[in-house]
């Protein structure tokens, strides 16, 4: 037992010792190259010494490495390769010492060592840090690991293992119990491995949570060596703990949906908390990209006091608000029409334009929202707006449009909201309109808040103490 502990202790010097042969051998190769120059020719005498020390430290690394590797927590194929490459490096270094008198041979040996040290070193790095450590910066795996736990859209429809349990294992266990490392011989990144268990036996006993090492180890006091995840690593949260317990107690199934298992209120709540309401963004925007709007036109509008802005930072789609303007000259209209690709929201309350100018606006075919409240928009112009196929919001509050002209709006497939309060449209026309524009919510306004007696009277103590 003591011997085992001792060899284990010695083995743990490997990560320290490996750096000696790497440094010594590489430095020796550097000196060897320098010694070919006339000025540094004197260095030739130290080369054999370099290879000797390099070989000695390489042998020490091999021995400690063997002891560490036999503890068995590493991927076997990589370990094997690393071991043999290390041994080969040591032998080559010895050869370097033995053949140091022959310049030509020494050159080949130097190249060989350069290659072997790189390969062995990389394999060693792979063993400690895991597969793909070196190139992580270039792979999207990096981003994936940050978004391990994707919120579920419906926790009851989700798969109990794949959607609930595995993400917990992935976050808290995979770093030591998956492809790159199998501490204690345990792999958890696949149901088969989970069932197989580690070198101390099975870890999952269906219907017996407390008897399953997979769960029991979490419950141990964190100061105990067997507690999992080890002290200092991210721990299993209370919510995750009850989910694991529930899953094992309910049979440790890998295929079922959560709703097929019995759920206590606490479990229901824990499951529900995995469900995050998805972030809801404004979806009324065009999906396709668009070129930037002509700067000259933007400047013209801005100089007239129009607020023209991108709908969001970095977007080329625009929103324009004519809040302080009640008229627009020809250059302004031209500037506005130049934005017809980009302009999707337009507000022109109280705008007074000539009929011909209103009609020109029908070229703004990309508009989604159009507010013309209290403007002098007329029948003809509004009929010409049927070109705005994406329009979903049209505000004609307080305008003089009439009901018959608005029938034309049935040509607008996306129109969802139409505001008509304060117009002179007859009730009968409203009814026709509502029947024609079936997909549109028509708000005819005229809401009242009736005045109740209580609205204006104060309740006092005297009056109620009768």
């Amino acid at each position: 037992m003591f011997l085992f502990a001792f060899t284990d202790f010695i083995g743990r010097f490997h990560p320290l010792l490996v750096h000696l042969p790497i440094g010594i051998l590489l430095f020796t190769i550097l000196l060897q190259w320098l010694s070919t120059k006339e000025k540094w020719a004197a260095l030739q005498s130290v080369i054999p010494l370099g290879y000797l020390f390099g070989a000695a430290s390489a042998i020490a690394s091999c021995i400690t490495g063997y002891l560490l590797g036999s503890a068995g927590e590493y991927d076997e194929t990589v370990l094997n390769l690393h071991q043999w490459m290390g041994i080969l490096t040591a032998f080559t270094a010895i050869a370097g010492y033995l053949f140091s008198h022959n310049q030509q041979n020494l050159k080949y040996i130097a190249w060989a060592i350069l290659g072997l040290v790189s390969i062995t070193g990389h394999l060693g790095g792979t063993l400690t840090h895991g597969e793909g450590y070196l190139t992580k910066a270039f792979t999207s795996a990096n981003a994936d690991s940050l978004a391990i736990k994707k919120p579920l859209t419906n926790a009851q429809e989700a798969l109990v293992y794949a959607d609930v349990i595995e993400p917990i294992l992935k976050e808290k266990c995979f770093s030591c119990h998956a492809a790159s490392k199998q501490k204690g011989g345990l792999r958890l990144d696949n149901p088969e491995w989970v069932l197989k268990g580690g070198k101390n036996g099975v870890v999952l006993k269906p219907n017996n949570a407390i008897g399953s090492e997979l769960y029991h180890r979490i419950l141990l006091d964190p100061i105990e060596e067997k507690h999992m995840p080890p002290k200092g690593k991210p721990q299993v949260t209370e919510k995750e703990r009850i989910l694991l317990e529930w899953w094992i107690a309910q049979g440790g199934d890998f295929k079922k949906q959560t709703k097929q298992l019995e759920q206590s209120p606490a479990i229901k709540q824990a499951l529900a908390s995995l469900e995050q309401a998805p972030v809801k963004l404004n979806t009324d925007l065009p999906k396709e990209a668009v070129a930037a709007a002509p700067i000259a036109s933007l400047n013209i509008l801005q100089s007239k006091g129009v607020t023209v802005l991108p709908v969001a930072k970095g977007s080329h789609y625009l929103t324009a608000n004519f809040v302080n303007l009640t008229s627009l000259d020809a250059s302004g209209i031209d500037a506005l029409l130049a934005l017809k690709q980009q302009l999707i929201w337009l507000k022109m309350p109280k705008m007074q334009l000539a009929s011909a100018d209103w009609k020109k606006l029908s070229a703004l075919t990309n508009l989604r929202k159009l507010d013309l409240s209290y403007s002098n928009i007329n029948q003809e112009a509004i009929t010409s707006f049927i070109t705005m196929k994406s329009l979903f919001y049209l505000n004609l509050v307080g305008t003089k449009v009439n009901g018959t002209a608005l029938i034309a709006l049935k040509e607008l497939p996306e129109l969802r909201e139409l505001y008509l309060s304060g117009t002179k449209i007859a009730t009968a026309d409203f009814e026709t309109l509502k029947k024609t524009l079936t997909k549109t919510t028509i708000d005819t306004g005229g809401y009242q808040v009736v005045t109740l007696a209580t609205d204006t009277t104060l309740i006092k103590k005297q009056t109620t103490l009768k």
Binding site: A277, K280, P310, V311, S315, S373, E417, T451
Partner: protein, 500 residues
């Protein structure tokens, strides 16, 4: 004669010297030495571009210029109706029939252990709901008879029934609600919004505050202050009676041209000061002068409710010529219509402790409800019929809730029925602005004492409001004292459960 002139010049020079304070000396030291060091480091490689250019670019940028948010917004404006003093959720929205059964009984020890209250001492009595509740609309939201009008628009509202705070005094709680910190010094929500969005209407401020109820909110003007943001972003307080903004009228005998000329001169002087010291506050000052000049015309126009038709006055229940909540609510609609981003209304008088008739749950509180019910309902309907409700987020709430126990200030029986400040659960509602209609999120226990699910706090509400305006609350930051600050500090979660 020349002697006289010499005297004048000496006096002028002396005045200039007196203007030079210790502060100037330090500034010159710091900027001068820094510039020298920087100059030698960069070796005149023009790495930062020419100095003139960068200076001019900065000063020509109006800090209130309209800007795009992070993502396409659902709401363009916010009207925040703050019932200062904290209305009782138990008499309005959080219906607890079980509390009625406990009415008059001693409060169980379990609710009192380890808890602190503002005024309750010893063992208070439980107090049942002092109002009749009904389910309203298709959504079946519980709204009491105190709000007969709001009950008719229940299907427009999204209730947050489990709002929590950690401050049980008005001032700190209001600061937390509006600035994200219970202590002074942080910018208010409206200031952040204006900092991010600028003002859509160049003639009006981006953030306007209206108060009613005869008193300012307890936290004072800091709840609409700009904190460490440039002061141009602070809320502009307008009055609904008399001059809307004080000291903005030209004095008698001064015409608008002369005013313009003097403002131009002042701005030129400020511009030179800015060139010298590069203090962003100077830019703020220039922008404020320019805006004040434009506001002279625009504000009296927008703040005049007399041009509204009688039907609208009836609807809101306004009292033209007086200062009241209803007038402010109507003004809020007018301001939003004109592109103001953030309108904040504070109505004082909701602190129903039961210490006197005005602050009694069964008297003063009922009257406050009556004065609030009609205008708020009218606001929602008016915005709706103008097609503005979808892009205007209306938020209603107080700074905390009220206890299910009757207050027993200093352990004595009170002259009137009242409730103490309560931090563990209260109700706030939102409407319009891309929020779901007719929903309720969060639950309290059977007596309305604590929140049991769907808990949200001030930061979550702030994050949600910013989200509706198109901001990622984690990215709307301002560098100050060496780190980037944000409204929600290190907290906040968008309440996606109520976002449409």
């Amino acid at each position: 004669m020349s002697h006289n002139n010499q005297q004048l010049i000496d006096a002028a020079n002396k005045a200039i010297l007196e203007q030079q304070t210790r502060r100037h000396f330090f500034r010159e030291c710091v900027t001068g030495m820094g510039a020298m060091a920087m100059g030698s480091l960069l070796g005149g490689c023009n790495w930062l571009g020419s100095k003139d250019q960068s200076g001019l670019a900065a000063i020509n940028t109006n800090p209130l210029m309209a800007q795009a948010p992070h993502f396409a917004p659902k709401a363009k404006s916010v009207i925040y109706l703050h019932m200062a003093g904290a209305p009782s959720q138990l008499e309005l929205f959080d219906y607890k029939p079980d509390l009625q059964k406990l009415d008059g009984q001693d409060c169980p020890q379990s609710l009192l252990e380890g808890k602190k209250f503002a005024f309750i001492r010893g063992v208070p009595k439980m107090m049942g709901p002092q109002a009749n509740f009904k389910q309203r609309g298709q959504s079946g939201a519980w709204i009491s008879d105190h709000l007969p009008h709001l009950a008719t628009v229940a299907d427009e509202l999204a209730f947050l029934k489990a709002v929590q705070t950690d401050q049980f005094n008005h001032g700190p709680a209001q600061l937390l609600m509006h600035t994200g910190s219970a202590r002074l010094g942080r910018p208010s929500m409206g200031a952040w919004a204006t900092y991010g969005l600028g003002s859509e209407n160049s003639n009006l401020p981006g953030f306007v505050v209206l108060t009613s109820g005869g008193k300012f909110p307890d936290a004072g003007k800091s709840v609409w202050g700009s904190g460490f943001l440039p002061s141009v972003y602070q809320g502009v307080q307008c009055r609904s009676e008399g001059d809307p903004v004080l000291f903005i009228k030209d004095p008698a005998g001064m015409n608008r041209d002369l005013r313009k000329a003097s403002i131009d001169a002042i701005n030129e002087a400020n511009r030179q000061t800015y060139e010298e010291f590069k203090d962003p506050e100077t830019v703020a000052r220039i922008a404020q002068y320019e805006m004040a000049y434009r506001m002279q015309i625009a504000v009296p126009d927008v703040m005049n409710i007399n041009d509204e038709p009688p039907s609208i006055h009836d609807m809101y229940g306004t009292q033209p010529g007086k200062s009241c909540f209803a007038n402010n609510v109507l003004l809020a609609r007018k301001l939003v219509e004109k592109g103001v981003r953030f309108v904040q209304l504070f109505d004082w008088g909701w602190d129903s402790h039961g210490t006197d008739e005005n602050l009694a749950i069964d008297y003063g509180f009922v009257n406050k409800c009556r004065s609030m019910d009609k205008p708020v309902t009218a606001l929602l309907l008016d915005l709706k019929q103008r097609g503005l409700l979808d892009e205007t987020l209306v938020v209603w709430g107080g700074e905390f809730g009220r206890t299910p126990m009757q207050e027993n200030r200093d352990g004595k029986k009170m002259p009137f029925k009242g409730r103490d400040h309560h931090t563990e659960a209260f109700t706030i509602w939102m409407a319009g602005g891309g929020i779901q209609k007719g929903v309720s999120f969060g639950e309290t226990d059977e007596i309305g004492y604590s929140a049991i699910s769907g808990k949200v706090d001030a930061y979550d509400i702030q994050a949600t409001i910013l989200n509706q305006l198109g901001f990622d609350h984690e990215k709307l930051v301002y560098p100050f004292q060496g780190r980037s600050f944000r409204l929600t500090d290190v907290h906040g979660r968008v309440i996606n459960e109520i976002v449409a």
